[in-house]
Assembly symmetry: C2
Homo-oligomer: 114 residues x 2
Amino acid sequence: MKPSPLREQSYLILLALAPEPLYGYGLIAAVRELSDGRVKLGAGTLYGALDRLGADGLVTLDHEEVVDGRFRRYYKLTDQGHRVLTAETERLAELAARARRRLAASRVAPRPAG
Amino acid sequence: MKPSPLREQSYLILLALAPEPLYGYGLIAAVRELSDGRVKLGAGTLYGALDRLGADGLVTLDHEEVVDGRFRRYYKLTDQGHRVLTAETERLAELAARARRRLAASRVAPRPAG
DNA sequence: GCTCTATATGTCGCTCGGCGATATATATGT
DNA sequence: ACATATATATCGCCGAGCGACATATAGAGC
């Protein structure tokens, strides 16, 4: 109902799903790559997040298939999921820009009266 | 000992402290402004985070003073805190840039074969 | 004087998310 | 037979976020 604010892990899941649908195990690898190896999703994190994102209407089931005898369940972004991801990305970019400005300013003037 | 990965709240606390030392109540206001009103730190969050950041060596006590009969405890970044904040900011900026590229690409080609 | 709001610190307990351990199943390699 | 990799899913622990509460001062309004 009330969409909880995105944690980094959930944001990365949405971002990973942006170009095309992915299945669970593939998502873990995609998120790891997107974050340069920093975020390694645990199984509990992944399926818990997927349930929540599904309940919030941001992610939905795409299709299921069997590859090499192994079952894969593919998920994709909903329209709302895409909108939320876009908005969150803009928010993130603005925060990063603001942070850089603030750091540059504090380097020159560590104190207000400096 | 082992510095846990920064949540958004802790990151904003570090960022707020970058230009100059701040006291608890002022930090709550600063973080709210830095995040455009989106992140409103609860008291439990603030002092819990301050304890953790202190234990990790990122934040330390600056000084204490009484203003208008009210006690204020000021905190400031350590050198390590400044380094961590800078690194985290760069990571954030890179992620945001990567996310924008990924979104732009998926808008043109929703599917690999599109 | 009493109450409410704002400022200021800090604690306590609840809830929820992250995550490793575990279970299940198939394919491959040694 | 055993280990490794792929693949899904559940369980319970732990820790972070957070509201509620306690405490204290200052000022406004009645």
